[in-house]
Amino acid sequence: MQSQLLPPPSLRKIPDSPTLLAEPTSMAWRNPHPAHQYNLVILGGGPAGIMAARSAAVLGAKVALIERDQLGGTCLNTGCIPSKAILKTSGLYADMRNAEQFGAQVPQVITVDFAAAMARMRHIRARLSRRASAERLSTLGIDVYFGMGHFAGRNTVEVDGQLLRFKKALIATGARPLYPTIPGLAEAGFLTHENVFDLTECPPRLLVIGGGPLGCELAQAFCRLGSKVTIVEKEPMFLSQEERDAAQILSGALARDGIDVRLNTDAVSVREQGSEKFVDLVSDDYRSTVVVDQILVGIGRSPNVENLNLEAVGVRYTRDTGVQVNDFLQTTNSRIFATGDVCLEHKFMHFEDASARLIVRNALFWGRERLSALTIPWCTYTDPEIAHVGLYVTEAIRKRIPVKTFTVPMHDVDRAIADGEEEGFVKIHVKEGTDKILGATVVARHAGEMINDITLAIGSRLGLDSLARVIHPYPTQAAAIKMAADSYRRTRLTSTRKWLLKRWLAW
């Protein structure tokens, strides 16, 4: 499937549809008068840019932050936060429908109030955006500029007709959605994560193209909010980078919710008839057509590298992979750094946050901290959630590290049983013959919370044996991690040790 870029958000119009709510994207703001020189000029007011600006400003640096659209970036406005907000509401409806499983009565009538769910989401988004407001950042000593920033010279950036001189610069311009070049798709219209949260009515029938984290999360959310959802993924499994067992559990969960799961399937053409969209699907030699009201595309994101005049300052980039950086997040111009979606393979807010702090130390204080030294977990917030940290088994094998996995199914965990949340597992991968934790995958309703213990252990170089000594309050679902550690300990009890123990206890 070929793909194309959407134009940057500020250049794009939200489709003219009565079911979409266009929110104001700009605010009344007067750009400040530039300082003589900035320690750090940051292009992009998303999570990475804001974190870098805050960290540098707190340390006394003179910082300029340039944003062309909305402060807060994708995560706050059109990504993690709004999706989590509606996942919460949709999960509640799912629990209502499954009330019997929890020993409760199913309400006689369950009416989904889509508008209320979206209103709650927008309220949460507005509340969190206050933290990242231009006024708030200004009080920290950060000069906030709105406009299209680009490099104007060796040590200058131009924004809104003003030149900002910098000692160091940071490119954090983010990324925008890719969409597939399916004949008829553009004409029929479609949603991406940038406007799906502006919907005012739940589409009765929704096709989701792309089985990555975003596609899976929103497919499940909209299904639980009442859409008849079909999800199409060209690979034979969802979340192609995740473990097979995790992806299979997710497929089963989505199907159980009532989603029409089409793996190994391509959407090949779209045509609009009236208000309906007919989408032709192909899986090997099997052809079918689904009729939907809306199409949501989530096949990936592409870095915003255009119109920055990067060539003029010697910053190498490609349109596919973004700005080229080394392990210190320096671009090919050693005075210019980059982070976030514009250059990183993993496009996670918390990755941007951690890397932004690293850049401040490396750019302003001669730090030599490496990106590869960071321990970065991630999570797909479906139900169950799928969280991972560290190496996958295949990665360990490619590095010729012998690996052994300690697995605890959630159906063995007392609290998971009590909660009726038994689907999933904890898998902790260790270097065989040692307790060194290489990585872990957790599939559980609260996997995103559970992975933190393992992330801390990896980051602190604690082995699995140490996790066996951690005392958990009883009962918790995170006890699965201790159970995996206990399994490790039992394997250390060799026959010789057992014999010695037996001899010792023979008094």
Partner: protein, 425 residues
């Protein structure tokens, strides 16, 4: 009560009789199931061909009769159309998964299946090793077997990738599905590596094993795969006791021991019975690819219960809808006879109605309301289930198939190219 030997003899013979009854004598093709209108499955033909030496040794049919049946089958496969046309029998030496039982042409728009061709070929080679006599028919069997093997273009199936595809269709090319994680494909790789004409490169095998996961699960160290058949199919022909590839040498185990542990894993799952399904217990287990009640949601005891039709059930992550495959437990007989026999006896004692014509069904589900007081029972019989029952009972009783295949030079060569050492190699 029947002795173990008598019980096994009855089950084995009844299973073998499936192939006597469900084979088209004109072309040797065997029905996938004995349900009306079922097509032939090439994998089931592979099992059928492997059962004839057993039947001869057990005195169930004569050597001449067996040889004649096999010769008919091999002649069909050699002479049937090979090509890119959509209704051919095969292409590049491989065969379509499902064929019309009468005409032998591709049916159900099925895929040109590598694994099912390997299972067919395993049967072809088993027959060629056993029928080593000087009669015209037995000579013909050996010549046709060798010719069929040499015709398969394994390299083409690699499709310029590190490991092989699962199949190909004339309408859409190679399937996107590859072999990821441990599964039944060892037999496929061994046969493909040993080809005298189009062998896979030796690097293809570690490319596959690099996707394995070695897990500690329920206290057992095991090369994980959920469905039990994965741990059985290659073992029907290859005696993995004591021979090890690089992966198993590193783990200080072997594939036979691994299947033994996988069998215990199944029993342990049934003991824990996380979904509270009826019937599950220490002696009632068997979760694998097989028939199921339906592909919908049923309401049982006030709860919604998701069911599946024919699917690969597995432990511990499922899918699990309460369906037990009693033949799967029995097919673990060589790995751990005590618990496999106990499971078979338990099912036959507590659910006697599952036995029809002396054969075990593909599955039964005591949790669901079905066509009798003990729940749902799969209709008729499936050839794969009956085939694995015959081979594994016989491997337990006399090791006949293992012994035959130890003498097959292709199996030895393939194992060695895959890096297996030790034991009988």
């Amino acid at each position: 009560m029947l002795s173990d030997e008598d019980l096994l003899d009855r089950l084995e013979r009844a299973a073998f009789e499936y192939f006597l009854h469900e084979t088209n004598p004109e072309n040797g093709l065997v029905a996938d199931t004995n349900r009306t209108g079922a097509p032939a499955s090439i994998a089931v033909v592979g099992f059928a061909l492997s059962t004839y030496p057993i039947a001869v040794e057990r005195g169930w049919i004569t050597r001449d009769e067996a040889a004649a049946r096999i010769a008919v089958t091999l002649r069909f496969f050699w002479n049937s159309p090979q090509g890119e046309q959509a209704d051919a029998t095969g292409y590049k030496g491989f065969y379509y998964h499902f064929l019309d039982l009468q005409t032998g042409k591709r049916t159900w728009t099925s895929e040109l299946s590598l694994m099912d061709t390997a299972l067919l070929l395993a049967g072809v080679l088993t027959a060629s090793v056993y029928f080593n006599g000087a009669t015209q028919t037995e000579i013909e069997i050996r010549e046709l077997a060798d010719a069929l093997y040499r015709r398969i273009d394994w390299l083409w199936a690699q499709d310029d990738k590190s490991s092989v595809s699962q199949g190909w269709k004339p309408e859409s090319g190679f399937l996107h599905y590859g072999w990821e994680g441990y599964n039944e494909a060892i037999l496929l790789y061994v046969l493909a590596l040993a080809s005298p004409t189009h062998p896979l490169p030796a690097t293809s095998y570690p490319a596959w094993t690099s996707t394995y996961q070695w897990e500690n699960l329920y206290g057992l160290d095991v090369l994980y795969a959920g469905p039990l058949f994965v741990h059985q199919f290659s073992h029907a022909w290859i005696d993995f006791r004591g021979i090890r590839d690089r992966f198993m040498r590193e783990k200080r185990s072997d594939y036979f021991e691994n299947s033994r542990r996988a069998t215990y894993l199944q029993r342990e799952y049934a003991r824990r019975n996380p979904h509270d399904f009826k019937g599950y217990g220490e002696n009632c287990w068997g979760f694998t690819a097989g028939d199921g009640p339906c592909a919908s949601t049923a309401r049982v005891d006030g709860k919604y219960h998701q069911c599946f039709g024919y699917t690969a059930r597995g432990v511990p992550y499922g899918p699990d809808d309460g369906t037990i495959a009693p033949w799967a437990a029995l097919a673990s007989l060589p790995f751990e006879p005590e618990i496999a026999l106990a499971a078979a006896r338990h099912c036959l004692t507590h659910y006697p109605e599952i036995l029809k014509e002396g054969r075990l069904p593909s599955g039964f589900n005591p949790t669901l309301p079905g066509n009798n007081s003990h729940g749902w029972i799969s209709e008729g019989h499936f050839g794969l289930d009956q085939g694995i029952i015959v081979l594994m009972i016989e491997n337990y009783r006399s090791q006949l198939v293992w012994k035959l295949m130890r003498d097959c030079p292709y199996i030895k060569r393939g194992l060695k190219r895959a890096g297996f050492r030790g034991g009988w190699l």
